[in-house]
Symmetry: C2
Subunit: 323 residues, 2 copies
Amino acid sequence: MSQKAPWVNFRPEIKVLDCTVRDGGLINSHRFEDHFVKGVYDACVAGGIDIMEIGYKADGKIFSAAENGPWKFSKEEDIRRAIGDNDTDLKISVMADAEKTDYHNDILPKKDSVIDVIRVATYISQVPVAMDMVKDFVQKGYEVHLNLMALSVVQDKELDDALEIFAASDIKAMAIVDSFGTFLPLQIRDYAKRFMDAAEGTGKEIAIHAHNNRQLAFANTIEALICGVNYLDATMMGMGRGAGNCPMELLISLLRNPKFNLRAILECVETQMLPMRKAFEWGALVPYNITGHFNEHPRSAIAMRESEEKDKFLKFYDYHNEA
Amino acid sequence: MSQKAPWVNFRPEIKVLDCTVRDGGLINSHRFEDHFVKGVYDACVAGGIDIMEIGYKADGKIFSAAENGPWKFSKEEDIRRAIGDNDTDLKISVMADAEKTDYHNDILPKKDSVIDVIRVATYISQVPVAMDMVKDFVQKGYEVHLNLMALSVVQDKELDDALEIFAASDIKAMAIVDSFGTFLPLQIRDYAKRFMDAAEGTGKEIAIHAHNNRQLAFANTIEALICGVNYLDATMMGMGRGAGNCPMELLISLLRNPKFNLRAILECVETQMLPMRKAFEWGALVPYNITGHFNEHPRSAIAMRESEEKDKFLKFYDYHNEA
């Protein structure tokens, strides 16, 4: 990139991952209709998106099909029914949560699956099982990424050890995940450097998954990409649990690789996302500002927004500010 | 500031200016009730805000009182009726637009006014009249700031000349104004450096006034303050024309000078701003993303949001993308 105006040109290594259906599924219990999933898929293909994350691969013995829609499980037949066999350049990914996935049984060999990429999501305490999952998925033929969740509450020394383990594994990419939407761009810069230092010489890529609690998801994604992070997560209209994610339409308006097509993204926002936003709430609302500020999981804010006290910002702040 | 985690401590030079009533007045034709103005004022006092901008000083021969509420003119008696004589540490400011202010007649000597600070707003083409206004206001005893509007469409060479003129004047502060909400943090960094270089040795402060078209108002304000910009504009709940401004509640959650009080700001957001937001629309909606992306004035997006085509994002994009 030119030093004078680095945003004028582009870095071909940058890959964009759409996780609208996966992260958005946390709002509606993963009950998207096929036509919505297909709409997002079509926009990803037309928009030049690199990877579309279509849902979780949750264990049916832990999560019931009565309480969760199909995109909690992302069964082969459900994916193929919604989007076909995906004979395109777009890769399909699923997220496999550590301890919540029956990975030996529920993940087919790659040759039998429409899935290309599996992202293993892990808390720091779950790294050993996550690494066993990585091994299993790599052996089955998948491209495997690793998302270290809730990074903002991981202790420094634990992170160093975890990064060493990740760097020695067969993952393709490891992600900075700001689950609580608490990080400032300055902090993203520090983490990007640490992750990139850990990955140096391994050929692994660093990814960023930002949440918008403090209206910083897009800014933090920009900061990460300036630092050399090449894999960027976003969702259509920023749909995602609580405050939501980095909005795809903002990210694609920034990226100048001609393969990206902002118009296709905006069409999806207008036709698919706007009706969704009218039915479900997400965005950088004040309660999410507050949990982000306190570096806390947004669950209390989500519960508050679903209660009669949805607008009692001050009471909510006082509760979180209690000694 | 410490290099290790500069956000842990604070820079006492940082001053925060609330322009909720002034910028927010562009949404409702400046028709705020006194109790609202007083509510924002009380929150500014309790919240440790340094300056509250209460309205414009528009020329009554150009703008009619029938079409504009009192905060378009900010008459002495209106200010005193709403907030009293302001015997507090909070400074009161007004904005005086170049070519739209009868400044010789409408601005009293400072000793007769409750106003402390006048901010002169100027386009690059209006610099000569703006400088005459600065002279008049300084002679009358005011602290004077200068806001160079629409910076993102000012040519580089013109800017250099303008900065030289500003640096030689008696203004206290000069502001980077991202009227179209188009700048990325990287660009703010460049402008902050240019403004600070121009101000070096003069004792003048640099200010930032960001708009939120691309969800970057808070991030750009953070970037500016990291670069050494000390005067920061924000509005309660981000209220402001179109996409709105840097939200005060986010800014104050970041600043760690103990004089600031986030709770007082949140109380104002809950009691004053939330009802306002239910009556009027502002925020980083998709049409404002688009005008920000194209570095255009948001007026087309504002008109579109007031029309039957308010949700026709794609048509709006195509219109702006026309060759």
